[in-house]
Structures are given as structure tokens and as C-alpha cells.
């Protein structure tokens, strides 16, 4: 029987962690772009757009990420669309992230006093100009800590893609366990790597919150 040293386990986990990081970055960047469009729809003046965006958000927040992954991975091929685990994972996580980010950002936009909207509209700015020059710059300040905090959820969300066969940290841990029969060590190290990835993000979210301290500025 082949024996595996602890370093064998850790190095292979670290190699797989690259894909966790890459998938998180893709999902977060893509989710940011789609989320911005959703935000625009969610607060637009057209009632139909608002309605559609809120249904989208409700659907993605009210159903498990795992189900969304299954629908994309097992469902779409039935329609004749070939989906690789990479594509299914990337697209699903992007859409899922977008729903949450849009809702977080909507809260931040709504925290901006109404007078700002009225002032900018009295300057004959269009809706888009109001957002671009007046509302978003202020909302962004409030949005930074919760957005960074949510990135932790994205990193943890990528663990689910292991179930549809995308080889990232969790899948690698399962594969290594099957070879070494040391689940305690392997899953322990996998958890540690996730912690090392996520903890700086949650910590910086807390620090940013304290630093920007927007919540108590206007009182």
C-alpha cells in the first residue's frame, strides 16, 4: 500500500484550492456586473422591471444553491445545451451572487436620504445620471463592508460545486480521502484552508465597517 505523507495531502489540497479561488473570483466579478444590472432594474421607475428583478432575487434567495447547480448541470443538457461542470458552476454561482449583491446594494441605495434624489432631479438629471453622479458614489461607501462580507459566502458557496463534479478544494478532499483513508486529517486541513481564505475577508469587512462607520455618521 502506498503511504501518503501529510505534505502530500496538504500540497494536493493547496493545488486544488487554486480552483476554489479562481471560481470565487469569477463568480464575484460576474455577480458584481449582473448584480449592478439587477440593482438598476430593482430600483428603476418601470414597475415591470422592478417586479421582474424582485422575482429573480426571491427565486435565487429562496431556493438552495445546490438545486440551482443541479438544474443547470443536469437540466440544461436535456435541452440540448452541453454543460461542463466549469460552465455550470461559473454561471450558477454568478447568477446566485448577483441576486444577493443586488439586494445588499438596494439596501445601501435606499439608505441615501430622499433629498439627494430630489436635489439631483431638480438639477434636471436623468435617472441614470442621478445614480451615476449622486446616489451610487454615496451608496458605495455604505456598501463596501457588507459586500466584502458577502464574498465569504461566495467562497463557501464554491464548496457545493464539488457535488456536480467540479474539482476544487472540497472535491479534492473527497478524492484524497478515498485514497488515504484519513478523513479526519484531510477534511481538517481542507477546513483550515477555507478558513485561511475566508477569515481575512470577514475580518477586513469588520474593520471596514468600523472605519467607515457610516451607520452612525448622520445621527
Amino acid at each position: 500500500m502506498i503511504t501518503f505523507s501529510t505534505w502530500d495531502i496538504v500540497s494536493n489540497l493547496l493545488l486544488a484550492a487554486r480552483w476554489t479561488v479562481l471560481l470565487s473570483l469569477v463568480a464575484f466579478a460576474g455577480g458584481g456586473i449582473v448584480g449592478l444590472m439587477l440593482l438598476y432594474a430593482r430600483i428603476s421607475r418601470a414597475a415591470a422591471l422592478r417586479r421582474a428583478a424582485s422575482v429573480y432575487i426571491e427565486l435565487f434567495q429562496g431556493t438552495p444553491l445546490l438545486m440551482q447547480l443541479f438544474l443547470a448541470f443536469f437540466g440544461l443538457p436535456l435541452l440540448g445545451v452541453e454543460v461542463s461542470p466549469w460552465l455550470a458552476a461559473g454561471v450558477t454561482l454568478t447568477l446566485w451572487t448577483a441576486a444577493f449583491l443586488a439586494e445588499i446594494w438596494r439596501g445601501c441605495v435606499e439608505a441615501i436620504p430622499k433629498g439627494q434624489w430630489e436635489a439631483s432631479s431638480s438639477l434636471a438629471m436623468s435617472f441614470f445620471e442621478q445614480l451615476r453622479h449622486v446616489i451610487l458614489p454615496q451608496a458605495m461607501r455604505i456598501a463596501v463592508p457588507p459586500t466584502v462580507g458577502f464574498s465569504v459566502q461566495v467562497v463557501k458557496g464554491t464548496a457545493l460545486t464539488s457535488i456536480i463534479g467540479f474539482v476544487e478544494l472540497t472535491k479534492a478532499a473527497t478524492i484524497i480521502t478515498n485514497a488515504t483513508f484519513e478523513p479526519f486529517t484531510v477534511y481538517g486541513f481542507a477546513a483550515l484552508i477555507y478558513f485561511i481564505l475566508c477569515w481575512p475577508l470577514s475580518k477586513s469587512s469588520q474593520i471596514l465597517e468600523r472605519k467607515l462607520n457610516v451607520a452612525h455618521r448622520n445621527h
Binding site: 429562496g62 431556493t63 444553491l65 438544474l71 464548496a159 457545493l160 477534511y187 477546513a191 475566508c198 477569515w199
Partner: protein, 224 residues
């Protein structure tokens, strides 16, 4: 390629799905209650508990909040037997949910406790209540009332998260869906149905928690 939907074939598997729903509900009810109790205990330690107990609890909260539920589940189900603690799939799933929800609800409840005015503690002390009595009778309920919406959201998130328990062969909704899918190859229909069930459950859970909130906090008063 044309795909024609056929939901009729799923009817034969109604008992499997119903059993799945039952187990999901069981997971969230047991896990939810025990998890919130653990969260209250941890929040107490982090705000008023003995100082020596605070760092370990803080470490537990950070560790759980920064690792995926799936890894926690695998660690408890596959990893712990190596350390001598062997759990069946259902106890392992419930234990993971309790540990997970405990960490998240600790942070939420702690925020509620810290938002309690200092005068409340002093008022309790001036009535010769012990710190624990003050916490139990004066601080806890208003604190819970303040953070009840956030706690409800977290419970819904945990309920959706239980879909992962199918991976250690807990026979909940996702497990049922996978089982039916492997029998009928009707992936789209099955997963759409399962997704809709989860959606309905999350709406239902929200309503139930709102009702529970009205029961526990009968005096509706303006916060602040």
C-alpha cells in the same frame, strides 16, 4: 432538440418526496431549536460569561463562520469516526446544523444584547437579581425581539443549506430528487419540483417564524 416536459411520471414517487419533505422539516425544526439555544448560550458567554471561556467561544464562532457547511458536515460524518466518535447520518446532520446555526445565531443575538441599554442591566441589579437572572428575565427577550428578523433569515438560509445533507445520504428532499432522477432520468422535472418545494418551505418557514415571534413577544412596542 425538443424537450417535452412530463411531470406525470413523478406522481408514482409521491411517497419518496413526502418523506423527503418530512425529513427536511425534521432537520430544520430540531436543528433550529437546538442551534438557537446554543447561540443564546454562546452569546451569553461572549457578553457576560466568564472571561476564560470567551476566547474559545470566539474561536468556535470564527471557525464555523469561515468554513463551508459541506466541509463541516464531511468532517463530522467522515472525520470524527476516525477520532472515535461515530454518528449515524441523521445525528451527524443535526449536529452539524446545530453547530453551524449556533455560531451564526451567536453573532446575531450578541448584537441584540449589545444594543440593550446599560440601564436595563442596572435596573435588574438594583432589584437584587443575579447577573444570570437579569440576563434571563430582563435582557434576553427584548434582545431576541430586536434581532428576530435577522435570526429568521438565518434559519431560512440554514433550511436551504440542509439540501447538502443528501451528500451523506440523509434522505431529505434533495436526496429524494436525486433518487427519482436516477430512476426516471427526468432531471429537469424533478429538480424543478424540488426547487419549488424548497421555495414553498422557505416562504412557509418565514411565516411560521413570524407567528412564533408574535407568540414570544406579545407586547408590541416600538423599538427604541
Amino acid at each position: 432538440m425538443k424537450y417535452s416536459f412530463d411531470f406525470g411520471g413523478l406522481l408514482d414517487y409521491a411517497p419518496t418526496i413526502l418523506k423527503g419533505i418530512f425529513i427536511t422539516v425534521e432537520l430544520i425544526v430540531i436543528g433550529g431549536i437546538l442551534g438557537v439555544l446554543l447561540g443564546i448560550a454562546c452569546a451569553w458567554v461572549r457578553t457576560q460569561g466568564p472571561p476564560w471561556l470567551r476566547p474559545p467561544v470566539a474561536g468556535y464562532v470564527e471557525l464555523i463562520r469561515n468554513t463551508p457547511f459541506l466541509i463541516q458536515l464531511f468532517f463530522i460524518f467522515f472525520g470524527l469516526p476516525a477520532a472515535g466518535l461515530s454518528l449515524g447520518e441523521m445525528p451527524a446532520a443535526i449536529l452539524t446544523i446545530v453547530i453551524n446555526l449556533g455560531a451564526y445565531s451567536c453573532e446575531i443575538i450578541r448584537a441584540g444584547i449589545q444594543a440593550t441599554p446599560k440601564g436595563q442591566f442596572e435596573a435588574g441589579a438594583s432589584l437584587a437579581m443575579s447577573p444570570f437572572q437579569t440576563f434571563r428575565h430582563v435582557v434576553l427577550v427584548p434582545a431576541l425581539q430586536k434581532i428576530w428578523p435577522a435570526l429568521s433569515s438565518q434559519m431560512v438560509i440554514v433550511m436551504l443549506g440542509t439540501s447538502v445533507c443528501s451528500q451523506i445520504s440523509v434522505e431529505e428532499i434533495t436526496f429524494a430528487a436525486n433518487f427519482i432522477q436516477s430512476r426516471t432520468f427526468r432531471a429537469f422535472e424533478v429538480y424543478i419540483l424540488a426547487t419549488l418545494i424548497y421555495l414553498a418551505l422557505s416562504v412557509l418557514l418565514r411565516q411560521v417564524l413570524r407567528g412564533v415571534g408574535c407568540l414570544i413577544f406579545p407586547r408590541r412596542r416600538a423599538v427604541r
